[in-house]
Amino acid sequence: MPLRLVAPEWSLLVPPLVVAATILVLLALDAVQERLVQRFGLAIALVGQLLALASLATIDWSRGATTFGASYRADWFALTVSLVALVAGILSVLVSAGYTESGLEPGVGLAEYLALLLFSVLGTMLVGAAGDLLVLLLGLETSAVAVYALTAFARRRLTSVEGALKYFLLGAFASAILIYGMAWVYGLTGSIVLSDIAHTLRTVVTPGQPLDPALLLALLLLAVGLGFKIAAVPFHMWTPDAYQGAPTPVSAYMSVVPKVAGFAAMARVLVQGLQPLSEQWVTLLGILALVTMVYGNVVAIAQRDLKRMLGYSAIGHTGYMLAGLAAFTTGQAGDRSVGSVLFYLFAYAFMNIGAFGVVAWLQERGLGTTLDDIAGLAGRAPLAALVMAIFMLSLMGMPPLLGFYAKYYVILALVEAGQLWLAVAIVVMSAVSAYFYLRVVTRMYFEEPVGTWRPVRTPLLGIGLALMAAATLALGLVSGPVLQLAQRWPAALV
């Protein structure tokens, strides 16, 4: 067979390449002139991601083009994931503003911090665009390894290192399981290209028949591996420690972007690759969703530390999003499942990074991260309290905030798929979650401030928080375009 060389379509790779170039610029500048990074690092990271965001417009996504064999796909799904990852990346850089000025330990540079953050964004974009299992794995690991390092960034603090170690060990373990599952899939279908896997499976799987044990094993291994990545119960053990131990801006980032990567991987692997097994994995995800949302929301009630509470709340939100995936029916136009999850991730980025951002803002002012530290904030800093209240109410799902729309679309997807029990579970858990989110609001508004307060100016962090609060407040009302984009996934995955 003569070797045929096909030139890759480089133009499809522009957005991730822009991010990669930004990383290189940061690292090169750090080697040459460190002071410049200190002054302009944040701006470079922001501009780089904004450019990547703008470059998304240069590609015709409706073509659903693939390149590098079928390893890299530029379809609607990839676009949505890239959009969410970049938005979350930009917001994370904004909430890092205070920390990177005053919190970094001697010897660790801003360039490393930003480069790792951007690496993780890049990895997430790759997962979204993955056409085969290998690229998917590479993206997932690029995203994860960078965050392991970021978690340990406060390297002299025991909790930071402990959280990072737990996160790393369990993450590596999960990757091993995931790879093992991938190997089984490859062995059974003879391909690592997702669309080919689906094609092969369609010929061997008959709906309604019990599954071949080997296939079932492969499915379970993949589900467990991906479950770790998104912190679904019972694979969540690393989450609270990692969230609490990491520097707060890292927690903000970690609560969103790796989750985007995890859900993108789940959608690529399960919805695109293992679609013929949807009967099995829909049931599996439904159960996981229920357990996850109940556990996360109930345990969050007992938390006194804000970061830990947000960690458990993140588990609860993972449950809601899993429920959205479990609403998968046919993958035809009108199936809202994956779209509702993508929109949820988009909304979640604003409100969750925002909530962690307020905690970072408090820390800049010499306060701790417990509920006591936030008491009476409304008397001290009315705007910060208002912003935090907006994030809390949005996470709770109060209309007309962004979180409500996200939850509404998931519920809608579930009801349309006939999974009423999960929809009821979501609203019951929302009522439970109201208890701990509301506690933050009541302590801010109904109590007198305690502790010493060091007034400092953190303009960039303030702007970032204001931006996220405004988006949480108003974006829901005009959520139509994002929703429409998110709903184009069937063209990409099916």
Partner: protein, 527 residues
């Protein structure tokens, strides 16, 4: 008139005021009060114009506004009022103005934030009454929760945080299931007709199976029953009322409870006619329990505000009794009771507030003989006390009479029991009036000429008036009478109470076409 988006203007003029206050960071308390007064006043005047332009002969929606919003989900910005919602809009704007004036002096801390919250609350409440899209309705419905909880929690009395959280969690839990109900309804209608819509009027045209109606009715019912509140979902109410500042109680009793009754009329009845008929007997039982329970609880209260709160439970029982009697008299009665309760109970909360401002206690034992040094106050109080107990010629009588008549026609025993409770209402209302306005003040020496006391005095027994000077160091005999601002809050409510009591015809004419259409939809035209 039809082309002016008057409902949007009514709904959002308080919001404009709220935004002004938000942006005006260093507004003085005085400026904040005036901004709130202007914003709520504009809303009120517009609603008066709307009510005057309202065509009472038509049963359908008027002043409708429609904009596409999220068409692929069937969500649109749809507003409109009919004979059921139009009077409630008027009630809401009026009570908002009254709440602004009533808070003029009592609210002294964080004044700007207070009025901002109050205006936000007004927009939420108005939105609930004018929305014709279930999604929009739900958004407004939930928006109401936050400012109300804040008003209780920040500006309330001692146990305010507990009351605010309880209020919030209770009502949130109820309404979340309604959300599932809304989505289920949307999906069911889509499967039947292929149309994606959340338009209430269109959804009411669907035919739903009995099982579906049964469960969806329940999901909506819970949300509204907690809001009304019906027994046994009422436990948040006494706490919320007792802890809320006066204006908060006025809004809570005057408007928020009506949202529950309105929800039944707008959603449960027309959307689920079969389930309505199926559930009606059970709900009537709950209503009669609420009427009895509220009155009995009111009898034993020492706290004036709690007494009014429990009387609210009893009055709202008449509303649900009238609604689920499912006949013309019952429905008209329920509507009139809602309006009348809005005037009378709000006024009674203002009365409690006026006393509290002077005595800093709501313990009934602290008062006495106020008719002497507060004659205007006593006159107002007397009017509203009699209206509350259902004296003919005042608004309370018209509504309760009609509701009981409807109840009697549908369920004889319910009518009989409900009527008996009117005696209890007279008992607790007259008792409290006597206690506050007529009998001796604590510590006041008995009148030696009082023939009833002469035997007791002859035996050297202590005076029988409740309480002692030591418990309540503030002498009620020194209280000044109502000032002009307090009188200003009470006067319009007094006039409306008299007007609806003496000449309810214009109101009935306005609400009847809508109610008749509703009744025809529920009973299938047969009656």
């Amino acid at each position: 008139m039809e082309r002016v988006p008057i409902l949007s203007l009514i709904t959002y003029s308080p919001l404009v005021g709220a935004v002004v206050l938000f942006l005006w960071a260093n507004a003085s308390p005085r400026a904040a009060r005036w901004v709130a007064l202007v914003a709520s006043g504009v809303s009120f005047l517009l609603s008066v114009a709307m009510l005057l332009a309202f065509d009472p002969g038509r049963s359908g929606m008027q002043f409708t506004e429609t904009f596409e919003w999220l068409p692929e989900l069937g969500i649109a910005y749809r507003l409109g009022v009919d004979g059921i919602s139009a009077p409630l809009v008027g009630l809401t704007t009026l009570l908002t103005v009254i709440a602004v004036i009533a808070s003029w002096q009592p609210i002294r801390s964080r004044v700007r934030e207070y009025y901002l919250t109050l205006l936000l609350l007004a927009t939420g409440m108005l939105g609930v009454f004018v929305s014709l899209d279930l999604f929009l309705f739900y958004v407004f419905w939930e928006i109401v929760l936050i400012p109300m909880a804040l008003i209780i929690g920040v500006w309330g009395s001692a146990n305010r945080v507990y009351a605010a959280v309880k209020f919030f969690l209770y009502t949130l839990a109820g309404s979340l299931l309604m959300l599932v109900g809304i989505v289920a309804l949307y999906q069911e209608y889509f499967q039947q007709t292929g149309i994606r819509t959340l338009d209430v009027l269109e959804l009411a045209r669907g035919q739903y199976s009995e099982t579906f109606q049964f469960w969806t009715f329940l999901a909506f019912f819970l949300a509204f029953a907690i809001k009304v509140p019906m027994w046994p979902f009422h436990t948040w109410l006494p706490d919320a009322h007792v802890e809320a500042p006066t204006a908060g109680s006025v809004i809570l009793a005057g408007v928020l409870l009506k949202m529950g009754g309105y929800g039944f009329l707008r959603f449960n009845l027309p959307l689920f006619p079969d389930a309505t008929r199926q559930w009606a007997p059970a709900i009537v039982v709950l209503s009669v329990i609420a009427i009895l329970y509220g009155a009995l609880m009111a009898l034993v209260q020492r706290d004036f505000k709690k007494l009014v709160a429990y009387s609210s439970v009893s009055h709202m029982g008449f509303v649900t009794l009238g609604i689920f009697a499912l006949n013309q008299q019952g429905l008209s009665g329920a509507m009139i009771v809602m309006l009348s309760h809005g005037f009378v109970t709000s006024a009674l909360f203002l009365i409690v507030g006026i006393l509290y401002e002077r005595a800093h206690t709501r313990d009934l034992a602290a008062f006495g003989g106020l008719a002497r040094n507060m004659p205007i106050f006593a006159a107002f109080f007397g009017l509203f006390a009699f209206a509350s107990l259902g004296l003919p010629g005042l608004s309370g009588f018209v509504g309760e009479f009609l509701a009981l008549l409807g109840g009697f026609r549908a369920y004889r025993w319910a009518g009989i029991l409900g009527t008996a409770v009117v005696v209890l209402a007279a008992w607790y209302m007259l008792r409290v009036y006597q206690r506050v306005a007529l009998v001796r003040a604590p510590g006041e020496p008995p009148d030696p000429d009082d023939p009833e006391l002469r035997p007791a005095l002859a035996h050297g027994l202590p005076p029988v008036a409740g309480g002692s000077e030591r418990d309540h160091p503030i002498d009620p005999r020194t209280f000044p009478d109502v000032d002009w601002r307090e009188a200003l809050t009470l006067t319009p409510l007094a006039l409306l109470t008299l007007w609806v009591g003496v000449y309810p015809l214009p109101v009935l004419r306005m609400i009847d076409p809508a109610l008749q259409a509703l009744l025809a939809a529920v009973t299938g035209g047969t009656l």
